[in-house]
Subunit: 266 residues, 4 copies
Amino acid sequence: MLIQASCLLNFTSETPVPTTFMLRAKSGVAQFIVKEEMHTSPYQTMTEFTDTYGNLCQRIVLPMGDFQIRSTVVADCADLIDVNYSAPWTPVELLPDFMLHYLLPSRYCESDKLASLAMEITKDLAPGYAQVEAIRQWIQTNIIYQYGTTNSSTSAFDILATKTGVCRDFAHLGIALCRALDIPARMVTGYLYELKPMDLHAWFEAYLDGRWYCFDATQTEPKGNRITIAYGRDAADVAFASHFGPVTLTAMAVTVEQPPPGTITL
Amino acid sequence: MLIQASCLLNFTSETPVPTTFMLRAKSGVAQFIVKEEMHTSPYQTMTEFTDTYGNLCQRIVLPMGDFQIRSTVVADCADLIDVNYSAPWTPVELLPDFMLHYLLPSRYCESDKLASLAMEITKDLAPGYAQVEAIRQWIQTNIIYQYGTTNSSTSAFDILATKTGVCRDFAHLGIALCRALDIPARMVTGYLYELKPMDLHAWFEAYLDGRWYCFDATQTEPKGNRITIAYGRDAADVAFASHFGPVTLTAMAVTVEQPPPGTITL
Amino acid sequence: MLIQASCLLNFTSETPVPTTFMLRAKSGVAQFIVKEEMHTSPYQTMTEFTDTYGNLCQRIVLPMGDFQIRSTVVADCADLIDVNYSAPWTPVELLPDFMLHYLLPSRYCESDKLASLAMEITKDLAPGYAQVEAIRQWIQTNIIYQYGTTNSSTSAFDILATKTGVCRDFAHLGIALCRALDIPARMVTGYLYELKPMDLHAWFEAYLDGRWYCFDATQTEPKGNRITIAYGRDAADVAFASHFGPVTLTAMAVTVEQPPPGTITL
Amino acid sequence: MLIQASCLLNFTSETPVPTTFMLRAKSGVAQFIVKEEMHTSPYQTMTEFTDTYGNLCQRIVLPMGDFQIRSTVVADCADLIDVNYSAPWTPVELLPDFMLHYLLPSRYCESDKLASLAMEITKDLAPGYAQVEAIRQWIQTNIIYQYGTTNSSTSAFDILATKTGVCRDFAHLGIALCRALDIPARMVTGYLYELKPMDLHAWFEAYLDGRWYCFDATQTEPKGNRITIAYGRDAADVAFASHFGPVTLTAMAVTVEQPPPGTITL
């Protein structure tokens, strides 16, 4: 389906603050980027680089005072994510070299601490997709989605104590539990059509049988119509904004909708 | 200056043909990408990956029959390229590791065959910018810009025989002569405002005193307002279209202009 | 000085266990690798790949039962590490793109939680080397070096509570505090001559004024004669052995000494 | 089989000359590096980096006057290379992204000029291994192995005219003909046991059915016992020595043999 998504961020700061944004998508297996726009106010240019995950990162120095960035993207997306209960686990010795990276613990995904929970959740299941789906369902059942209960320092391990969190926390927990079973897993950030309430979103992917599969513990259906912005080990790698100095986010507005009729033709 | 550039390519082929396009720009030191669009007809999606140079590459299978791709970009560009006659040469032992790559000969830049010419052109000049500028001027003076005299197999060495070529050949020769002097040099493809006749363009950059400088042997002035699409060792790395099968380019139209008033606000 | 180091690891496991070792050094700014050997018993081959940090990683499947790996290296090392109290901090906006990676929090270095401590430790100091040295001294003064008080899940934040740890914990804390001040910092593993008690060692580096400087909070002098094996964000990236399955380390012996006279000539 | 190989190079130069060596092997699918040594005389240290192909590269400034480097390696190698006549061609659209790189023409492998020859040699053959083997045999039959007929500027296209060359030229021609058929191909340098006359050696690999296969047009049998030192697009990427200044190679000695009894135990 053709989707138009936009993200508007307002910041204020008392000094110039170097910042890295990750707000620009690439075409991929389930999305074709038709159009993109990026605007800043006051007008400020950026440079762009590609990180080790292939993500596009925008470097800028936020000016003192108020600053707004608006990013818009139109993409043609798959309506559903691929579901494949019979996809088997890939034994570690058969993984491509660079995939080993996604088995290691990371800042927000302490897989080294979650081995028993992961085994308990997936007991008696065939290694592979079925395990990851059980993890996804366990999170959905056991963690309450609630704004304001976690912050940018909250990790997968932390939310096991509070049993509450937002999409990013759900994703971290899913990733940590997968890695605890030696299943490569990564964080994904982007947009999801009809997400409620609307916001920037995060979910996770697991590498099974030679490809990545998408999992979203915040949703009950295998919804597609997702625009991926960035991939990484966890939120540290894919923050939509990394500030190197004190900045306040004063407003944020995200829209994800079908483009108004007549505005875009494929 | 704000520039709007577009490229329209029509192809025809008798079978499906896997193709890699390089038609999508990133923001960088002299350009901020404000807007981009990409359309295909018949409608066909693409995936995208980042190559070892950080370029965005679009993968697609061109369908049998006629196919059109149209890429549009709006960018805010520097009006002039940086000129610095006193920028010194960086001794090879002080170059960053990954820069050594740009000293080696490549498909279209046989620097190994051009040492004496490079030395002759730059005789008595201080190592660095002055040498590269002398090379640029030598090409401009000695090679005649003429369409249809070269093709996709023509190398820097080849055009020394015919003394004719197009922008890509001028760039190859500049690169090969720089490398023959142990100056890292790379190919750049993109758009140039007010290029005559209008077309996709190519030029080169040389690494001097810790940064890349832009050189264009087809121009008499240090014109900016360039939108860089891709960087690489030579045209093999940065072809706007690499076809893996027989394809005919039936039409091509490039426009580079200021956006119509009122269509884009920074 | 010429140093000969060896590491012998004995493992036992009840099933074959895929494992990644990082036990092989490269030549670098302060070390020239003269000789290396690696032996396994029972004899077992490995493949090798380079990770995103340029480290050499050895992949193997540990056989069921007992297994021994013995790695030996002879290197010519700098006797002292470089010390430069006046090396200034590099503002974030001037860092090379790939250096931003080393400013982010990672599994064992929760820099996001340590901003106030970092500022307190470095109060009134000029941004740069002096800050990192103050951090190093603070760790040396405030954390007690003690085996067995921490494990492979212990992070920088954790040891602030217990105030005890080993070299790896000291390094994690140094890294986390540097990053909290927007100073790029990385983990280093390797050998240190005359380390007491002898063991595999870990320390950290901070990027200041365009280069990496070495810091070791376990030592009172700026001792060189270090052989670096691997660089990374923290111990997750540079573990000397990452097992993907249950394995017991049954014995370990590390030696670092001057080669016996007559065995190696430069 | 356990193989001990050594390479001794003597140079002389009138000025210090920055040089990159590629003389150090990594363990891989068909080789396990047991031991390595590197000596220089006069004694001179090197730094080492990993290039985009994962090769280890040694940077050094050759001193004025005479200089000797001696590299020794002991490796356990597969006795035979894998042969698989039924391995099919991988359609370009199914190749991993980074494999596309190996389809492009490069300095010494002008695949863009060799399409008709490649098709003629492989007429009526099933796409895949059988084609590459036909290419290998064609080279063996049609090109005469002869020292001194080619030099460091000779390309695949060049030797079609002279019909003579050495191992490096044979490899270049094999690579160029494979790429002309859209088969990814790469250059390999290293040692071959019982090569006659003994020297540093070069051969090529083709990517078929998800893995690389080894081909050597200088040999009549599928001989293994090869120690790979480096992989790349062609000789420009994998030269055992790249000098950035005038240097004379005054002597070279290569030995490849079984280690003397009792010197190495696995």
